[in-house]
Amino acid sequence: MIGMIGMMGVVLASAASAVGDVLTSEAMYQSAMRFAIVLGFAAVGEWIAERAGTLNISIEAMMIGGAYSSAVAWGAFDNVPIALAIGVVAGVVVSLVQAHLSHQLSIDQFVVGLTLNLFVLGLALFLDSRWEAVTSVVKPTKVPLLHDIPLVGEALFGQPWPMYLIVPIVPLAWWLVFRTRWGLEIRSVGDNPQSADVSGIHVNRRRREAIMVAGACAGLGGGVLVLGQISIAGYEAGHVGLKGIIAIAAVIFGGWTLRGTLIGCVLFGYFFALQQTLPVLGYRINAQLAASLPYIVALLVTAVFATRTRQPRALAQPFVRGLT
């Protein structure tokens, strides 16, 4: 599995002609890491929701909500922790709508997700025309000594501090899903809701809770996106730009394992970074191709990996007692 991924990475990298320059570019590592981390927040949340059986496409809406709210809160309070907290709240609010419509009223989860994506995008666009969210960027925190490591030092130890929130979140998610009663129930609800129901687990409540966790993670990811990215000041419509969907692709790529999901985030982060970095390195690359590269790669990668892995058996299947 790891070998496969490694090979895949090598093949994809050699597709770009500028491998040497890219691999020795410090900016490339830094940019790829940043994209990977932002994707990572959403992907970890999505991973939990999918383990509980929801293919949660409104992760995109949750990210947009988090990004816009964080940007506005930054402008209002000029305080990063508060801004991030408000981003989390916005993500959770979106997830509440998704969770209750799809897992209480039993409306099709894709229908709800799609509508929410369009709704939140439109709402952010409209509100942005009234209350324009102007932010500046959090200064990078440089870990002494370590950030002087050549090539990867800046990428790993010289990021704005909100980026480092991914460090506690990943083990926390793992512990939650694999070492708690709640996590066991989440996984059982995603694999066999009928059995879970018979053994006294409230299937739809667990699924709703998993979606809310996803909302919190994605909202935080959106906040980190606007506050942590260099060279982007303020929230812009289309800023999130289907990164939520890429996060879903990362979960598929990772075969519904946490480790694989994170590797997927790094892979897609690399291709997002390529689009930004190649022109800086002096390579001319077709703009449209560069912009769609992460999406094409996501499509190819899911095509390769979707069949080989075991997805939660009840993924995307609604649970209504007595009907299924």
């Binding site: 009223l105 409306i107 439109g122 409209f126 009234r130 449209q288 996501a298 979707a306």
Partner: protein
């Protein structure tokens, strides 16, 4: 459906459903008004402008009809794939590819049937774009939800690329009006004709869309093909047992829904959206909104007609918002709030019905099917 024969519980449910719908719409509109008011806009004027722009001012309802036609065509395609149990949410991309293909056909070919060829080009373009998702689904088990969505983004970038090369779509006329990258303009004889009534004008594609709605409605409810799709959507295993070719039926349904989106794009092009040219951002959310039309109409083709009219009215109405000083994007909010609100009443009624009458015993999918097969 109802086990206890009498009509009154059913009528009660119907009345309750209507009441809930009215309540839901009222809440959605009230929330929209509140949002406008909170952001300091005149909400009364906004609603007046929407009505003025869509029907009240002279010549506007013709425009509304013209805007509604592609929405309706997209929605019909969405219904076909949903009927087969597939979630195609990539109409926006399929529409763009269809329109780009139609532009290529229309600008490169000549003869008496260019318009027909262009529309066919749209159909093929949309079908091929959806076909990629179908291929990935049945060959590699990629969820079509994800692939169609990713293909939307790839389509917008890809058709954008076509507009950067003169041998593809870019207009090579040196006297172009401006420097925006657009395709060449369609010739006058490759455009869709307009019907003029009472000072309103709308293209023939409106009639085409309504005819398609009737055809799709009849085929889905009365033909073997429609029955097979329905079975496939309800229970793929049963479908396989009664001899439905699952892959073929599913893939063709997905491609057909893409073909409808592509056709919608081609009619938009030939009916003068964006001045008979293919431009960047040509699809302009018609794909998404057409999909929402199908959702609100709860996948009934004929119910799509009035819903498409309402959504078309929101599109034309938004053109009159500039005078009120409120951003056009408020219309996106109003529309998706309406959609969210309209999803809820049927769900509530369904849940209450389940509570009142116990659900049917779980039906084993094996035995009755064997009986049918014999």
């Amino acid at each position: 459906m109802s086990s206890n024969g009498t009509g009154s519980p059913k009528m009660m449910r119907g009345a309750k459903l209507v009441a809930l719908y009215v309540l839901a719409i009222a809440i959605a509109l009230a929330l929209s008004a509140l949002l406008i008011a909170v952001t300091g806009g005149p909400w009364r004027k906004v609603f007046t402008a929407l009505i003025d722009g869509s029907v009240r001012k002279p010549g506007r309802w013709g425009d509304t009809l013209a805007e509604s036609a592609p929405l309706l065509i997209v929605a019909l395609g969405a219904i076909i794939s949903t009927r087969a149990g597939l979630v195609n949410i990539g109409q926006e991309g399929q529409l763009a590819v269809g329109a780009a293909t139609a532009t290529y056909v229309a600008t490169q070919s000549s003869g008496p049937f260019v318009l027909v060829l262009a529309l066919l080009g749209g159909v093929v373009g949309g079908a091929v774009w959806a076909g990629i998702a179908a291929l990935l689904k049945y060959w590699r088990k990629v969820p079509e939800v994800i692939s169609t969505l990713l293909l939307v983004f790839i389509a917008s970038q890809g058709t954008g690329y076509l507009l950067t090369r003169t041998f593809l779509l870019l207009d090579d006329d040196p006297n172009k009006p401006n420097r925006v990258q657009t395709s060449a303009q369609l010739d006058a004889d490759t455009r869709i004709g307009f019907i003029r009534i009472f000072g309103n004008a709308f293209p023939w594609s409106v009639v085409l869309a309504v005819v398609l709605a009737v055809v799709v409605s009849v085929l889905l409810s009365r033909s073997t093909w429609g029955f097979r799709l329905t079975v496939l959507g309800r229970n793929p295993r049963t479908a396989q047992r009664i001899g439905v070719p699952v892959v073929l039926a599913g893939a063709s349904a997905l491609m057909l829904s893409g073909a409808f989106a592509g056709l919608a794009g081609a009619t938009m092009l030939a009916a003068g959206t964006a001045n008979y040219r293919y431009t960047p951002g040509f699809a302009n959310n018609v794909g998404w909104e057409g999909l929402l039309v199908a959702l609100v109409a709860r996948n009934r083709p004929l119910a799509c007609i009035p819903v498409a009219l309402v959504f078309g009215a929101l599109r034309t109405g938004s053109g009159f918002l500039a005078a009120t000083g409120v951003e056009r994007s408020i219309v996106d909010v109003v529309r998706s709030l309406l959609v969210l609100a309209l999803l809820v009443p049927p769900a509530i009624v369904a849940i209450q019905r389940r509570r009142v009458s116990p659900p049917p015993a779980p039906v084993s999918t094996d035995e009755p099917v064997v009986a049918v097969a014999r």
